[in-house]
């Protein structure tokens, strides 16, 4: 076989897969064969490149040309131009980039310039279903070194401590300490466990999914190292069943690692045994909470338990258990390969390394980004994210999902690290970052997250089961225009009660979206309560659609488009909306060509 001179990397993450990347791959293979190039170029299926808004993405090396929004019809041209003749197909280069010329390579774009990839180092670079590619990217060398050189477990733990790595699930507990506690804990029969929390449930978050889809072996290797460090021989990955691609790739990775003897008995002839199994979650949000997750692995209903005892002492099957998040594990092998000092050199004094965020909402570059800790929110939103589309104004960013809070535009220069975000009433969270513009009503946002919590509360403790329900009722009352001044005080009081008395992290953090919006956007709440007005024009009960008679030409377009027949008026005469029939769907506004309909 002669040397392959060109690699065609096609993203097979969930985002690009749903926009036809499997068909694109099939077409590439067909075209390469048809044009006699299949011995010189090969197609590599990779994980997520991060720029999901521009998918499906195809990157061709050695040129590093990054094609965006590729369709099946484009493939023939890419093969005949780029692969056969060496001419880059310029019209397909980074078309979505705003305000910048076509960048040939992804690394040249503003999207990538501020990023530093540690947890995502292999995502979009290697084929996640080929263990050899992971090994080629220095995979399993950290594990190999630790086991063959018989590095004492305490030294392994000290390395993790020295790196300053903190839990990436959101709470930010020092990872090395967690390993130490589990290592020091005494198990009655010597059995300990290592678990991976891949039950990613925050609305809008997909960091863990992308790591599992793009680099599953990194998690396997890190968990094996963790098992060696704490003295465990069995690990479980708890992953949601809603992530079918991640589950399939994990299964493939575990099978391949077992075939190579990198999982199982006597790994690297060191006498150390470690095995891994998958456990699929049924999608309950509370199962991302550590004690509920372990109950679920045990086969029970996913409900949290009181702590202490902490999982490090009495966790899964009542044995000492180490539980880390996917992204936390994704950093481990990098730390061993590059040294803890290199990791600790990135970030801020108390928050080391990088953090992955799933950018979503009102942002141009929806996608996955990894930034050094301490990067400001402004850099993430304006530079990496490409700003708010449509010339709208940035209003707030929501981090930490239903447990987190909103960061208002006035605090856009806040550095992103655990302490700074906590200080302004939000939290790092697992990495969802939802951008909101002037069209978002903050009361409505708080209500949205609370609805999610009410749905997902397991019901075990009353502060969460009843408290969040009452809280939602109060918010609904306000958005429906029935709010009374004392409701705002009641909300605050109830929030603090829930925070202090709920059993687990889900309940304790549930009031955060309400408290933080109340803190930073109290004027919006007050407008709803006192003036019965929704400043963003979102809350249906508080807005009216009206026709401006001076602009209306009487074209009847709105009346024909109205689903409830609420608009009347003669041809070429100003129309009128019957407010009692109007359901405030906004269809008339979309239909009007003369800008004559407005919201009030």
């Amino acid at each position: 076989m002669s040397l392959i001179r060109s690699h065609i990397l096609v993203c097979t993450g969930t985002g690009c897969s749903s926009s036809q990347s499997p068909k694109i791959i099939a077409e590439f293979e067909k075209q390469l064969a048809a044009q006699g190039m299949d011995r010189e170029a090969k197609v590599v299926r990779t994980g997520c490149f991060g720029l999901c808004a521009l998918g499906p993405i195809v990157t061709i090396y050695p040129e590093g040309a990054c094609y965006t929004h590729v369709s099946v019809e484009d493939v023939e041209e890419i093969v005949s131009e780029h692969i056969v003749k060496g001419r880059i197909v310029k019209r397909l280069l980074n078309r979505g980039g705003e305000g910048e010329g076509p960048a040939t390579s992804l690394t040249e774009t503003r999207f990538y310039k501020h990023q530093q990839r540690i947890a995502l180092r292999n995502c979009g670079v290697i084929d996640p279903e080929n263990i050899d590619e992971y090994i080629g990217a220095d995979g399993y060398s950290a594990l190999g070194r630790i086991l063959t050189e018989r590095i004492p477990p305490q030294q392994v733990i000290d390395t993790v401590k020295a790196s300053g790595l903190r839990g990436r699930g959101g709470a930010g507990f020092p990872t090395g300490m967690k390993w130490q506690f589990t290592h020091d804990a005494v198990s009655p029969d010597g059995i300990k466990y290592v678990c991976c929390n891949a039950d990613e449930g925050d609305p809008g978050a997909f960091m863990d999914r992308s790591v599992l889809e793009g680099d599953p072996h990194a998690i396997l290797e890190a968990m094996t190292i963790a098992g060696y460090a704490v003295g465990a021989h069995q690990g479980y990955i708890y992953v949601r069943a809603e992530y079918p691609i991640a589950v399939k790739r994990l299964e493939t990775a575990i099978r391949q690692a077992k075939e190579y003897g990198l999982l199982g008995e006597n790994i690297f002839e060191s006498g150390f045994d470690f095995d891994l199994e998958l456990r699929l979650g049924a999608g309950a949000f509370v199962c991302g909470e550590e004690t509920a997750l372990m109950r679920s692995i045990e086969g029970h209903r996913g409900e949290p338990k009181t702590r202490p005892p902490f999982p490090a002492n009495k966790g899964l099957f009542d044995r000492p258990t180490l539980l880390n998040n996917v992204e936390t594990y994704a950093n481990i092998t990098w730390i061993f390969n590059h040294g803890p000092e290199a990791f600790a050199a990135i970030g801020t004094e108390k928050s080391k390394g990088t953090k992955v965020f799933a950018l979503g909402g009102k942002i141009t570059n929806t996608g996955l980004v990894e930034i050094p800790m301490g990067t400001t929110l402004r850099t993430v939103v304006e530079e990496i994210g490409g700003g708010v589309p449509g010339g709208k104004k940035f209003k707030a960013a929501q981090t930490g999902g239903p447990s987190g809070g909103c960061i208002p535009a006035s605090l856009i220069d806040t550095p992103i690290d655990y302490e700074s975000l906590g200080a302004i009433g939000s939290m790092m969270g697992s990495g969802g970052l939802i951008v909101m513009d002037e069209d978002n009503c903050m009361v409505d946002i708080a209500k949205f997250f609370l609805e999610f919590i009410v749905d997902e509360s397991c019901g075990k403790c009353s502060p969460c089961r009843i408290g969040t329900k009452r809280l939602l009722e109060l918010l609904t009352k306000i958005t429906e225009g029935n709010g009374e001044p004392e409701d705002l005080d009641t909300i605050e009081e109830l929030c603090n009660h829930i925070k202090q008395s709920a059993l687990c992290g889900l309940g304790q953090t549930a009031p955060n979206p309400v408290l933080s919006t109340l803190r930073h956007f109290r004027d919006e709440y007050e407008a709803h309560v006192y003036e019965k007005r929704c400043p963003a024009g979102v809350c249906k009960a508080l807005i009216q659609y009206l026709v401006d008679p001076s602009k209306c030409k009487g074209c009847t377009r709105c009346a024909r488009g109205c689903p409830t027949g609420a608009i009347s008026g003669a041809v070429r005469a100003p129309h009128i909306i019957n407010q009692s029939k109007c359901i405030k769907c906004g269809a008339c506004m979309d239909h009007c060509r003369f800008d004559a309909i407005y919201k009030q």
């Binding site: 040397l3 050695p62 056969v84 690394t107 050899d132 590619e133 080629g136």
Partner: protein, 122 residues
């Protein structure tokens, strides 16, 4: 897999293939002119010969790419060699039997094969 050496063997084999994806690396680039003129003059066997020779000698850090018409169609097939930090070298009227010399002399030992360069042809 029993030892670090086994792992190392797989890693080296794979790294040679994956070097290609390091777009801004310090690699030597061999670029073959493959416009209509180049292909008509026999550029494809030249390109294939480069790939085979590099594979045979187990060389790392070299990428083979093609480009369009370089402009001197009468001297096709043309091959340009870019070594980082050095001026590019243009070989003209290439054929598969000239490839091993270019690979062993220029790519491996860093000595330009002046007999085949554009200067010699002119």
């Amino acid at each position: 897999m029993k030892s670090l050496a086994d792992l190392q063997a797989i890693r080296e084999k794979m790294q040679r293939q994956m070097d290609l994806r390091d777009a801004d690396g310090d690699q030597i680039r061999v670029v073959v002119g493959m416009a209509t003129c180049g292909i008509a003059a026999g550029a494809r066997p030249v390109l294939t010969a480069f790939l085979e020779e590099i594979e045979k000698r187990d060389l790392k850090n070299i990428t083979v790419a093609q480009t369009g018409c370089i402009g001197v169609c009468r001297l096709e097939p043309i091959v340009e060699v870019y070594v980082p930090g050095q001026e590019k070298v243009t070989y003209v009227k290439m054929s598969p039997d000239k490839v091993p010399a270019v690979v062993s002399e220029h790519l491996v030992n860093g000595r330009v094969v002046t007999d085949y360069t554009i200067g010699a042809a002119e």
